[in-house]
């Protein structure tokens, strides 16, 4: 597929400028009162019909959180967040026993349509029997504010032995699995935002791929923050048993609002012997307007544990949205010869701030990791790569290669690279390469002389710059990601 040409086509088709996902859905909501307390947590737990162990786990996390301070080591600035001024639970009011499309709230259907979920998918999300619909390749979970509203293809997946459902259901239906793994990769008290999430998480996706099973389709979750003054705290847990493999995609959007909204998610991945997990994100939360008003504060903890020998976890992210991104998808490489990968494109424009990167913790012998980070800054934004490569004494023969490139558009933005490298095994090999470049006038003129408009030329150059990362994305997402890059950088030149 001529990716670059696709992008240009996409640019042509995007006539509407700015953020296209900024609509608001008028829908009847069930809201918890504002504020965070043990009562709020008990209410969430009660709404979800959770077992007592989980409530206790939440309360422990809350106790830990109260002792913690909001971290400020990242290169981001924001107004203080009033954690008592948020709703911690917001859910579309459920109509029990949904039998046909007519009973579904039409606003909900409209939302799916706008998110670009195909019609058949929408029917399934709305509750039409999946077996009545022809086979498609992607199973979708849609998380609307605090709850997962629907998951498709569960039956097809369950025939293969794969469990894919909202985590709140997993707590009910597979409590032993959830209890066995929840919080084992990102402990409840791991950091300020992870502790907050552990206390108040409301939904997210759960995926379990049993031994030897290759998940027969891509799994995907669409996250949507809709309600005003609401934080979204979703929690995702993916487990691939020995020899299993799964590819999972997440997409995120939110309405345009003048106030900031908090998103503090936790994602945990577990890969056993020879298991593979590919986790792809296209993060397109509302970034705020050109003056920096509004936008999502995205404080996310994502971590994968390669517990088994030769296991592999691969993170691919395209970060175009959010007012602030604070996110370091990491791999703990416990297994012998396990592999961790991190491919990232982070675009900041206007007043956006991104501090993102990864941590690769090498514990197992012969563990390997690859980091490819592409930061693109435009407008008056700041874009920081922050990465840690730590090799423990046990990780004989560990290898890491880091490639970290920054591209500047204009002269008012900033790009920063903060690599931390700690090697405690003399046989380990750690390499770090970094470059910073500007889109040169030469390059723009060369493209324009061949007939490309200035904007198309920038897109072409940016897509070239990101190619090593974009090629890691599943095809559907690669195209979407390229469109996003184009939209995100609209108006950044000239």
């Amino acid at each position: 597929m001529p990716a670059v040409t696709e992008t240009l086509d996409a640019v042509q088709s995007v006539t509407q400028s700015g953020y296209k996902w900024g609509w608001e859905t008028e829908i009847e909501m069930d809201l918890a009162p504002k504020g965070l307390s043990e009562d709020t947590i008990a209410l969430i737990s009660d709404r979800k019909g959770e077992p007592d162990w989980l409530l206790q786990w939440r309360l422990k996390a809350f106790a830990a959180w109260k002792q913690m301070e909001e971290p400020h080591w990242a290169r981001v600035e924001h107004q203080p967040i009033d954690y008592q001024d948020l709703h911690y639970y917001a859910a579309p009011k459920k109509k029990p026993g949904l039998k046909s499309l007519d009973e579904v709230d039409p606003e909900l259907l409209k939302m799916y349509e706008k998110l670009g979920i195909p019609l058949k998918e929408r029917a399934i999300l709305a509750g039409v029997d999946p077996d009545a619909v022809e086979h498609r390749q992607i199973a979708v979970d849609a998380v609307f504010d605090s709850v997962s509203v629907a998951t498709t293809f569960r039956e097809t997946l369950s025939k293969a032995g794969v469990i894919f459902c909202p985590i709140s259901e997993a707590v009910r239906d597979f409590p032993e699995l959830v209890q066995q793994y929840l919080g084992t990769v990102v402990p409840a008290g791991d950091n300020f935002f992870a502790a907050l999430n552990s206390a108040v998480f409301t939904d997210g996706s759960f995926c379990f791929v049993p031994k030897g099973v290759r998940c027969p389709m891509e799994l995907s979750t669409y996250f949507r923050i809709n309600a005003r003054n609401t934080g979204q705290f979703e929690r995702t847990l993916i487990i691939a048993e020995a020899g299993a493999s799964v590819s999972y995609l997440e997409g995120c959007t939110a309405p345009m609002r003048d106030e900031n909204q908090l998103h503090a998610a936790v994602v945990e991945l577990v890969a056993m012997d020879d298991a593979r997990i590919k986790y792809s994100t296209v993060q397109n939360w509302y970034p705020g307007d050109a003056e920096g008003r509004g936008g999502i504060y995205n404080f996310v903890t994502k971590r994968g544990a390669c517990r088994g020998a030769r296991s592999k976890i691969s993170w691919t992210q395209v970060e175009t949205g959010s007012a602030i991104t604070w996110k370091y998808p990491s791999c703990v490489l416990l297994g012998e010869d396990s592999v961790g990968e991190f491919y990232s494109v982070a675009v900041t424009n206007n007043r956006q701030q991104a501090d993102t990167g990864t941590k690769m913790i090498h514990i197992g012998r012969g563990s390997r990791s690859t980091i490819v980070s592409k930061g693109i800054s435009a407008g008056r934004s700041n874009n920081t790569y922050r990465g840690l490569v730590r090799v423990l004494p046990s990780a004989a023969g560990a290898r890491n290669h880091t490639q970290c490139d920054s591209l500047l558009i204009g002269d008012q933005c900033g790009a920063h690279t903060v690599p931390y490298i700690e090697s405690r095994n003399p046989t380990a090999k750690v390499e770090h390469e970094a470059t910073t470049s500007k889109i040169a006038d030469d390059q723009l003129f060369y493209c324009r002389q061949r007939g490309l408009s200035e904007e198309d030329a920038v897109n072409l150059i940016v897509n070239g710059f990101c190619k090593d990362v974009l090629k890691e994305l599943p095809m559907e997402f690669a195209v979407e990601a390229q469109k996003l890059l184009a939209v995100s950088l609209e108006g950044s030149v000239g």
Binding site: P2, T5, A440, R448, Q449, G451, E454, F465, D468
Partner: protein
């Protein structure tokens, strides 16, 4: 077809072109020769619309249109092609994608149907073959890791695919060995015809042995100091610029 009248241009307030007038009729190939610093490359850049230069006087008409009022991409759409003296590298951008994007941008602007990937590759492979270039030239990133000669050949490949009405070749012969020079010249000659004109900018007469021009202009100190037939190039080669055009050089 191309009419340059009393064109003066400067960069950072330093005058480079000091009043150039030149007529390039349709279907003709003219050579611009001259010593270093005479303004040859500036003329190429000003004609193709590079923004670093400011035109201080004069006019340029192309096909009856005011060329100087057009953006670089509009000039490209009108049929102006510049073969760069130092072709630019575009990391991560595949040559085939770049060319197809450019070709389709031009076709769109002319109201022509765009080519899909298959049609384009067929066209491009035909051209690479004709120019004796390896197929992998299309797969590689634009000019990245190309040798000097490969870059120049890549310019000619682009020209062959984009089929301009007016090609400006800015020292396309520099850094080429004799075989590559012949390939480049063959590429240009293949385009020659009633709908193709070219300004061939060169230091040396040897390129003009292969691309025989209709006229030769000698540029010195930002002015055309002498014009003549192809024999003028030989005279320059034999006697040098200073002796041929005198003090102006």
């Amino acid at each position: 077809m191309l009419e340059i009248r009393d064109l003066a241009a400067s960069i950072n307030d330093k005058p480079i072109l000091r009043g150039i007038s030149l007529d390039l009729p349709q279907g003709e190939v003219h050579a611009i020769m001259g010593p270093n610093g005479s303004g040859k490359s500036t003329l190429a850049y000003v004609l193709s619309g590079r923004e670093d230069y400011s035109v201080t006087r004069g006019s340029v008409t192309f096909d009856g249109r005011d060329l100087l009022a057009m953006a670089p991409e509009q000039r490209a759409a009108a049929g102006v092609f510049l073969a760069f003296q130092a072709p630019v590298e575009l990391p991560g951008v595949g040559n085939a994608n770049f060319l197809r994007t450019a070709l389709n941008a031009l076709r769109r602007s002319r109201g022509e149907e765009e080519l899909d990937a298959v049609q384009f590759l067929k066209l491009a492979r035909g051209e690479t073959k004709r120019l004796a270039m390896p197929d992998d030239m299309l797969r590689r990133n634009v000019n990245v890791g190309f040798s000097g000669g490969e870059k120049k050949r890549n310019e000619v490949l682009q020209m062959s695919i984009l089929r301009p009405k007016l090609a400006i070749l800015d020292e396309t012969d520099s850094g080429l060995d004799i075989d590559a020079l012949k390939i480049v010249a063959d590429g240009v000659n293949a385009l020659r015809g009633p709908d193709f004109s070219a300004l061939v900018i060169t230091h040396h007469q040897r390129l003009l042995d292969h691309i025989v021009p209709d006229r030769v202009h000698v540029l010195a100190g930002g002015r055309i100091v002498r014009s003549g037939g192809p024999e003028l190039a030989h005279e320059l080669e034999a006697r040098g610029y200073t002796e041929t055009v005198g003090e102006a050089a």
